[in-house]
């Protein structure tokens, strides 16, 4: 995916090309493209005058960043401790079965990306599944199966 160099430079200028702001810069780049395309990282490294591996290292260290394009729908399953004791692993297994992918992966048809997160802070609703920003609480394998079926049909 060819990105707009100008967009990246604008972001860099917003942070005064400050190396300390590398993480914030990458967060803004990711907001723009929904992931971190390779050439954006090259532009950032060149403009900040740091080795590419340094930028790449930061991009791969933090879980918020994705170096691969994400799917149309983002499905996040909370795996926090409170959700775990309320059987979140069984919910995750069902989601994996329904979407056919592992956490961190995107389906081949680019429709779904599955992620796990360690606590969203809405523990009263646990186990939680978030689909495109909408929270679904008190999930169980049966309930999440229904929601995903509807999503696959196109809501």
């Amino acid at each position: 995916m060819k990105s707009d160099r100008e967009k990246v430079v604008t972001i860099l200028n917003k942070y005064a090309r400050n190396r300390d702001s590398l993480i914030s810069i990458l967060q803004d780049v990711q907001s723009e493209y929904h992931y971190l395309p390779e050439d954006t990282l090259r532009v950032v490294a060149r403009q900040l005058d740091v080795p590419l591996i340094q930028v790449y290292g930061v991009a791969t260290f933090f879980k918020a960043f994705s170096l691969k394009p994400r799917g149309e729908h983002m499905v996040t399953v909370c795996q926090g401790t409170a959700c775990h004791v309320r059987r979140a692993p069984a919910v995750l297994d069902e989601v994996k079965r329904q979407l056919g992918i592992e956490p961190g992966e995107t389906a081949d048809d680019m429709r779904f990306t599955l992620e796990t997160v360690n606590c969203l802070g809405a523990c009263a609703l646990g186990p939680i599944v978030v689909v495109d920003g909408t929270y679904y609480g008190q999930m169980a394998p049966g309930k999440v199966k229904k929601i995903l079926k509807q999503l696959k049909k196109g809501q």
Binding site: P51, I53, F61
Partner: protein, 221 residues
């Protein structure tokens, strides 16, 4: 200058030096893996552990990054240190058995079994190559990628970096690449073949730090 006691012997060292440097100055050998005198210290391998005694309590610290302090009491080869060091080596061998350096160290320590399944990663993540490329060659083409169990040493996008000068230094300084274990038939991850061939490290001054000193006066970890 700072006064401290290492293995029962009082010594002095300039402020800002590390316990490892102070011990080396005295002729005491502390085994290391991620340390190299020409590079910045890293403190990751945890092989150079020493026991820092403070009254009734003590803690284990990596001597390569531990600054000397007035009145410090250090033990480089106590029971606690040996036990920890052995387990560290056992873990390293289980994830990287094909290294002569590691095998020699293990043999010296008297490790005769590896209780973990061998998951050969071919790398101990000591970071010497990364630091060499950055600090000696001023290139910085190698770095750490990802984190946790998935952490690895790599180049960006797994391509040869622009900065690479083809010096071969990364391979030369690597304790795994430097000499792969030639035995070819590791038993449960251990070789033990070179133990009799490679010279055992000998301290310049014997502090009688441990009872496990073999008949030749060589330090056995």
């Amino acid at each position: 200058m700072v006064e401290l006691t290492i293995d029962g012997i009082r010594t002095i060292a300039p402020e800002g030096t590390t316990v490892l440097e102070a011990a080396m100055e005295m002729g005491i050998i502390i085994p290391t893996l991620c340390y190299h005198p020409g590079l910045s210290t890293y403190g990751a391998c945890r092989v150079c552990l020493v026991e820092v005694v403070a009254g009734k309590r003590s803690s284990l610290e990596a001597s390569c990054t531990l600054p000397v302090e007035q009145g410090q009491v250090i033990l480089t080869n106590s029971e606690k240190v040996r036990k920890a060091r052995k387990l560290v080596l056992e873990l390293l061998i289980a994830s990287c058995p094909n290294s002569k350096k590691l095998q020699d160290m293990a043999a010296n320590m008297g490790i005769n079994r590896v209780r973990f399944k061998i998951k050969d990663r071919g790398c101990i993540l000591c970071g010497l190559c990364v630091r060499y490329c950055k600090e000696q060659m001023k290139s910085g083409g190698l770095g750490f990628v990802s984190r946790g169990t998935s952490r690895s040493v790599a180049t960006a996008f797994e391509m040869t970096p622009e900065e690479c000068r083809n010096c071969g230094g990364c391979e030369w300084i690597c304790p795994v690449c430097e000499q792969t274990c030639g035995a070819g038939n590791l038993i449960d991850g251990l070789c033990g073949g070179c133990q009799n061939i490679a010279p055992v490290e000998t301290c310049l001054v014997c502090t009688g730090c441990s009872q496990s000193v073999n008949h030749q006066g060589h330090k056995v970890y």
